[in-house]
């Protein structure tokens, strides 16, 4: 147990009165991240009985995200070689390594900026560093287009961590999902970097042909539908995920593997995931884009394109910003699915509506909880009055 020994040896340096006590919260975060702390609550006082603490439960989310991350990296490379015209000589590994090289700086920026602010705030308030950002930090690079510049990503991450999370009191108190707030900020502040047909393929970095490619246009299925054109991808493409799109959102298969892990581990609520798909499917059926044959787009393909799956599985199920009551979860999910389709089809300004739908329902989550709790109180009060 070399790591344990190192951590124990360092403990006095970071404790109060030690040389590096200013970074005490950082040390505490690392220690409790690697090892379950052995201090338990005293016999008297508040007691919470659970097999895993929140640091372990967020770890399941990261595990569930691994297929998405790996496929996202591969797809970055694949889309690039497709445009560069070298998919024949660049195999799976080459595509993957290319994607890894493009993706790593984004992950690094997101973690450094976000955790930097979290640690600074925790140190300033003399609190522990909360673990929520471990998930947010990996979600942020997955929901942006590959061409998003790093400095813009850094600004958006800082904005979301400060204004969506820390001002509300940190992890567990935020009303909105911080990763989605990052995306919303990017979407409204730098629209030319977030949508359109120039952002989905990495344009000028390590080409397999020499020199850089300029002005590549690749449209996402939703972009094509928004422009009233026929979709040039088959349903199989959108399910496997070899289409342009934000890094993590393209592959339905990878996301469903993640969904199974999350539901099996009990971290995400299957009720939210299921009801989101039900709401989405119902409204996709009721509100078609137009002639399905001419557009090469069946109604159920709505659920496989864009960020629908990713949002339903990884964003809507965020335990902090979704309702706690079981009935609330059903309504919450159903309305997210419905709103996402309504925004996509009926609002010409926004080809994709999943982000806005989830953020909108985040606001209503406490209201759903309130209604269901109140209804239960009334029911029991009536029952008590009858006796």
């Amino acid at each position: 147990m070399g790591l344990k020994k190192i951590l124990d040896n360092l403990k006095p340096t970071f404790s109060e009165g030690g040389k590096l006590s200013a970074f005490g919260s950082l040390y505490d975060a690392m220690e409790t991240f690697f090892y379950v702390p052995n201090e338990t609550a005293k016999k008297k006082g508040a007691q919470i009985h659970d097999a895993i603490d929140s640091k372990r439960s967020i770890f399941f989310v990261i595990i569930a995200l691994i297929p998405v991350i790996l496929f996202g990296m591969y797809n970055i490379g694949y889309q690039h070689s497709l445009v560069a015209g070298c998919e024949a000589e660049c195999g799976v590994l080459c595509n993957f390594l290319y994607g890894l090289a493009v993706m790593l700086p984004k992950i690094a920026v997101s973690y450094i900026v976000g955790l930097g602010i979290e640690v600074a705030v925790a140190q300033w308030k003399k609190e522990e560093v909360h673990e929520g950002f471990f998930v947010t930090g990996i979600l942020i690079p997955l929901i942006v287009p590959v061409n998003c510049p790093l400095w813009i990503l850094a600004i958006a991450t800082a904005f979301a961590v400060i204004f969506a999370k820390e001002v509300f009191g940190g992890t567990g108190f935020n009303i909105f999902n911080p990763a989605l707030v990052t995306r919303a900020f990017l979407f409204f502040a730098y629209p030319s970097m977030m949508s359109g047909d120039k952002v989905w393929v990495n344009q000028n970095y390590m080409d397999c042909i020499n020199g850089t490619i300029d002005g590549i246009s690749t449209a996402t299925p939703l972009g094509q539908l928004g422009a009233g054109e026929a979709v040039s991808y088959s349903a199989m493409d959108t399910i496997i995920g070899t289409i342009p799109g934000s890094i993590g959102e393209t592959s339905v298969i990878a996301i469903l593997i993640g969904a199974v892990i999350l539901v099996w581990a009990g971290v995400a609520s299957w009720k939210i995931i299921l009801s989101t798909f039900v709401g989405g499917a119902l409204f996709a059926y009721l509100l078609p884009y137009g002639d399905a044959e001419a557009l090469n787009f069946q109604w159920w393909e709505q659920l496989t394109v864009g960020g629908f799956c990713f949002g339903a599985v990884f964003m809507a199920t965020d335990p902090v910003t979704s309702p706690r009551t079981e009935g609330g979860k059903w309504i919450f999910g159903f309305l997210i699915g419905a709103m996402a389709i309504i925004i996509r089809v009926l609002n010409p300004g926004y080809p994709e509506g999943m982000m806005l739908a989830i953020l909108l329902m985040n606001i209503f989550a406490p209201l759903f909880d309130y209604c269901f709790v109140q209804a239960n109180i009334n029911k029991r009060a009536k029952r008590a009055a009858k006796k």
Partner: protein, 210 residues
């Protein structure tokens, strides 16, 4: 009591800082979000509100003893409406482009809570000179916040100040650079967040008093 006594100084200085109508009383937010996307309209708006608050305060203060209590709000509204119309016409005559930019918000000064608040809370009880100082102070307190928010919104949203480009053209992405203007700064939503930041800083600096 002399014209520039200590009490009168306090009446004038209070709203500039510790009793600021926007940062402390959180009044007049609507127009502060609407007109601050650029610095020039923000300044014109701030000055218009200053002039209107000052003179409506003076007029109401002069006739405060003759106004029947039951219809005082209507009398106040008539005075403010008359002044707003005058200011609106002056703006149209001398700074037409700014007046077009401000559009309905000049007319809507009449609904600005700061105005009615000062008339009710101050001019109805105090003499004309003190009311004048109070009006100027509150108008300038409002203008300061507008200028701060307008400065950051124009700089970050358009890369310019008073319409003069500050960020070099070669920095922009379309010219091969890295920089892009922040489109969110041009939206009222970001003005609200900037306003919150101003209030945040103000309260952090004046921890004891506010």
């Amino acid at each position: 009591m002399s014209l520039f006594s200590k009490e009168n100084g306090e009446i004038f200085k209070g709203p500039l800082n510790l009793n600021n109508p926007i940062a402390v009383q959180v009044l007049g937010i609507c127009s502060a979000l609407a007109v601050t996307s650029q610095l020039k309209p923000a300044i014109v708006m701030g000055l218009s509100v200053t002039v209107i608050t000052a003179f409506s305060n003076v007029i109401i203060s002069l006739i405060r003893k003759t106004i029947p209590n039951r219809i005082r709000i209507i009398v106040q509204l008539v005075v403010v409406a008359a002044l707003v119309t005058i200011v609106s016409n002056i703006l149209k005559a001398y700074v037409y482009d700014v007046s077009v930019q401000l559009s309905v918000y000049v007319g809507l000064i009449i609904t600005n809570c700061i105005l009615m608040g000062r008339l009710e809370a101050f001019a109805m009880q105090n003499g004309p000179w003190a009311s004048f100082l109070d009006g100027i102070g509150n108008g300038l307190g409002y203008a300061i916040i507008l200028v701060i928010v307008g400065f950051f919104r124009e700089l970050l949203g358009f890369g310019s100040i008073f319409g003069i480009q500050l960020i070099p053209d070669s920095w922009y992405m379309e010219n091969g650079g890295l920089y892009i203007n922040n489109g969110m700064m041009t939206m009222p939503a970001m003005a609200l967040i900037l306003l919150a930041c101003v209030i945040w800083v103000h309260r952090a600096v004046n921890k004891e008093e506010v």
